[in-house]
Symmetry: C2
Subunit: 327 residues, 2 copies
């Protein structure tokens, strides 16, 4: 038995240290580690275990850490095993990622049925996507029932989380009618469920109004085939007072079960696999774009392009021909 086979066996048997070690392995960009990681992921995928993958996006300040703590604890209370991972391509902490601060999830982090893993500090987006996909596979093989993929909503991180998840959840804070929510334009496109947090005490009224506002905004959007009646849904929750958690879990299961019955669950996973396949081929081709020599060529021309002295197409042609000469 190879070292990697041994590691795979331990993970499947629920060994926590093996789980952590495996995630550290897939975080590494060292070439030999990458080889081992690819072998490990292939072995673990063969185990065929599946978790419910929940993507969770929310801006700093919406109470994401408290929500994950409350909702995660609610789920472990239902005898479910819960893993929490982060997609955070920013190398500098924005203060938005709860996972940089495990101590804020005091209870869940000590729960034997929960596993929390902060995002690695690498910043290359392609790397983050690949690492997160691998980490999800490891957690599934380790027998977790629910894998939450948290994102702070920077750049394309929601797209990554959405393309890995079975359900994509947007967490919001209440706001006055004229106050700006700061919801990134386009993110509503991906939400299966919108949760308005802090629906307690003096914010309860504002939360209800925010729910109505977003329900109205969702009605303006085009319906999607993968949504059953009533979805995307908006629910008011309070992470602090633990309100709306069972309603949220019930709504998630309603949509997931419908999708499973109608085939959209499997179609979605197949489409995601296809997406990541083509994405990985693209990344392989575009890898050249990120080579220092090519970045240098691009920045050599960028000034003239921006000033209008050189056409974008002329400059691009020059760069491409230099890349080809390089080879």
């Amino acid at each position: 038995m190879t070292k990697v086979q041994e590691l795979a066996g331990k993970i499947i048997n629920g060994d926590r240290r093996a789980l952590s070690r495996a995630i550290t392995l897939v975080e590494s960009s060292r070439k030999d580690h990458r080889e081992e990681a690819l072998e490990l992921i292939a072995l673990l995928t063969a185990s065929g275990k599946r978790a419910t993958r929940l993507g969770l996006s929310g801006a700093p300040g919406v109470g994401k850490s408290t929500f994950i703590e409350s909702f995660g604890t609610y789920l472990t209370g239902q005898d479910l095993r819960v893993a929490v991972l982060a997609v955070d391509p920013s190398s500098v902490r924005t203060g938005g990622s709860i996972l940089g601060d495990k101590t804020r999830m005091d209870r869940l982090s000590r729960d034997p049925n929960a596993f929390i893993r902060p995002s690695p500090s690498q910043s290359h987006l392609g790397g983050v996507a690949r690492y997160t996909r691998d980490a999800v596979t490891i957690c599934e093989a380790a027998g977790f029932d629910v894998v939450m993929i948290e994102t702070v909503g920077v750049g394309q991180s929601e797209t990554i989380a959405a393309q890995i998840s079975d359900l994509f959840v947007l967490l919001l804070a209440p706001a006055g009618g004229d106050e700006l929510q700061g919801v990134k334009r386009g993110i509503m496109e991906m939400a299966d469920l919108i949760l308005v947090n802090k629906a307690d005490r003096d914010l309860r009224h504002a939360a209800m109004r925010t729910c109505a506002d977003f329900a109205g905004a969702l009605r303006l959007l085009r319906p999607r085939p993968q949504d059953c009646k009533g979805f995307p849904k908006v629910i008011a929750v309070s992470a602090v007072q633990k309100l709306g958690l069972s309603e949220t879990w019930k709504a998630m299961n309603e949509l997931l079960n419908w999708r499973k019955e109608e085939g959209y669950f499997d179609i979605n996973r197949a489409m995601q696999a296809r997406f990541w396949f083509e994405e990985d081929v693209k990344q392989g081709l575009l890898a050249r774009l990120y080579q220092n020599t090519v970045r240098q060529m691009i920045s050599d021309f960028a000034g003239d392009v921006e000033k209008g002295k050189l056409l974008p197409s002329q400059a691009a042609r020059e760069v491409i021909s230099r890349i080809q000469d390089q080879k």
Copy 2:
């Protein structure tokens, strides 16, 4: 003087036949035509003339053809010269593009101060983007004051139109409160101005409600630095009764003048040039992805990837290594 220099001279002097011929030239994908087109565009760019570039997006049925007819005629009535181009990557006509049907714009198409050009029938998205950018440059050099870039809202065509435009306008039809607008999720992200058409007769009330709905939805989105107070703005118009046209033009100029004063107009054009430069380099690299041999490799593996028999990353690695062996 070369043939291309002669053509450029005629365009700049306002020769309509030369204008049409130049656009036909940039539509062509023949290699020698591409060379001539590149030379022509470089010459015309050097003329330094600038038009106001208006992107206009709207689904079939919102009255886009009537709006362009009315608004275009309003502009020529203000002594402005107007060109209308289409971004339509669909090779099969959906019935949505007015430009497939010039006869619907009877008055504008006969107006000596207007120029209308249907979209070429090629369907490759990269080609459409490149062609449209070139056609805009040609129209600017020919002295048009306003270049409208119309898109039917299929796939990425709005992104192309938005990355070419100084202002991006979304045209909508009125809808009942619970009726679905079918606005593609994410498109609101790009709109500087939302026009609700058909605000006349029995639809007037519904149009006003739609305006209020979208104004509400816009307030939920994050503000952008390039917007002055009150933008993105929602305006009710009637293309048939010619209502709201001067208000629309006034709003456009308000935003454009503010952006020019604050520097956002130039920043936007510089960023667009940079965007197309990097995009053209990417396309050059990704061109391999669209080669038949590579498409074949991808479809050879796609079934196993979708079924979960092969990991996306494994399959991608295999394809990339085959591509490299090819060279």
